[in-house]
Homo-oligomer: 173 residues x 4
């Protein structure tokens, strides 16, 4: 990796979360989200493994982006091959907090129970959360849950960009 | 504390989760859930602080139960006064994993984003989860989300007991 | 467990740390430390497993004390049988922080690398640390490392008691 | 950042650990260690903050290396300005496990109690550890503690390289 002028403290990070196993359609959606994150100029953060995590990292790398994986175990060899840098944690599900925390915004694509926990943690940390074919969530009393919904990968990235104050133009050059 | 014959490795644990701030109605519901957990003979686990956590611990202690709190910080003085034993973690939201893990079943009463994360973590760990006036959750594709719903505190405790194979009778002496 | 008048927020906790495998002499030393902690009226905290952790919990229970185990995994069945209450964490070595944090003072008996990490964490948290046949530690520049040394189990407990302002009398009735 | 041909799964990582506050001499030593890590072609991992962490990252960046910081809090703005990528954890001292885990080898430069915990965690994970003007450690019974000592920054990097099977030549072009 070579640092260019756009790097540094001002760079934004977006976490893409979802299941370690997913169908082909979800894999493609996640790849498009990853691509959109890269085109925004944001770092793509993910859980470092297979399924949605791999698809998002792959999409970001194919678009020239920067990717960061945060693994549940201690063995970097468990990472997918589309990650520039990898953190190993040994915390198991405890690493979900780090994936939620390390993104300035979080986009969920599909997702299982672990994804649900990351949505909750991201919201607890005040991170904007965008859901794409993911969990449908409502509070008991019907109040606003503070969660953004998207219908397409492009819309998901656009909503994350808006929440972070990033211009649309960079994502659609 | 004095260990009696019902203690030991066979003892079951039930975590009660919910917001650190709650309205009076939720506080009373959580207290009744805590009472029910104690009458089942199970250890009441909670996040150790105020709101639903305090109410559940209080209800359990008033019914003669055993209570265990798991705090986000390093200072035991932040615990509510209804806990027999307290673990301090210093992990912040990272302690949510421990609350979810330490119960053989988990009952959510109301709840905010942190509660949502604990629901996700408990489900990821295969713990039975019962929701009482808590989040309404559905998967994108409409599949079964594997979560039990209860309408009353009694029903919530009963569902947790059933999931753990505990007899109903002990809870209704 | 039945709460008696000496319980509650004022109760002190002492963590006993050491290897999961140890020789017979170390096992006996750890048992005597656990016994001393119980006679002080303090809760005995440990990592919940075998070796020094088991010996300390066993010694405390045989002296009528209260014991709390904090496990690295998610399965309570991995706990030794001398624990009143058990927290499961799923954090692996990450649980070492909780063992260090949950004691108002920490006594190390023998110990391997994990014990060394707990000594460092306890010191970083400002917990008094007493070493009994454990690591010998010195700073590079020869400054005082702020660590207490003991030659016998009795002395180790006495030093922890002094550091916590607990009267000696309770430990030697 | 732009990925070049030397990146990818085969890339090695070396963590440099030490105090968040340090004297000028230690700062310079840490900088030289960071420079050596970069010249080896390894990723420099650190705790992301001031003192030794900053010096090592700065030395690595000035030598054209890649740097990764793992912060204790949730706010990326707390990172020093010499990091290519940053993970926020919110785990406080719990992040020490990640710094120890994410390096294939660990070099300690000076250091306080937190550094001591990282040394213990790295050893528990089987990571080679090199000490440079850091803690002096010995087991109670006088056995070999499995820790490498270095007298100079160059020697520290060389020992880490040897432990990882990296050729010396790359570090001394």
């Amino acid at each position: 990796m070579v640092i260019d002028e756009t790097d540094g403290p001002a760079r934004r990070y977006i976490s893409v979360i979802g299941g370690g196993a997913c169908d082909q359609e979800t894999y493609e959606l996640a790849g498009q989200v990853g691509r959109g994150v890269a085109l925004l100029g944001a770092v793509l953060v993910c859980g470092g493994r297979t399924g949605v995590m791999e698809a998002a990292a792959r999409g970001a790398k194919e678009a020239g982006g920067v990717t960061l994986g945060i693994l549940p175990g201690h063995d970097r060899a468990e990472a997918n091959p589309f990650l520039d840098l990898v953190v190993t944690t040994g915390l198991g599900h405890g690493r979900n907090l780090l994936v939620a925390s390390s993104g300035d915004a979080v986009i969920a694509v599909g997702g299982e129970y672990g994804t649900l926990s990351e949505i909750g943690l991201a919201l607890a940390l005040g991170r904007p959360v965008v859901l794409l074919r993911s969990w449908r969530l409502a509070r008991a009393a019907g109040e606003e849950a503070g969660i953004r919904q998207a219908e397409t990968p492009e819309e998901a990235v656009e909503q994350a960009a808006l929440a972070l104050g990033l211009g649309r133009g960079r994502a659609n050059p």
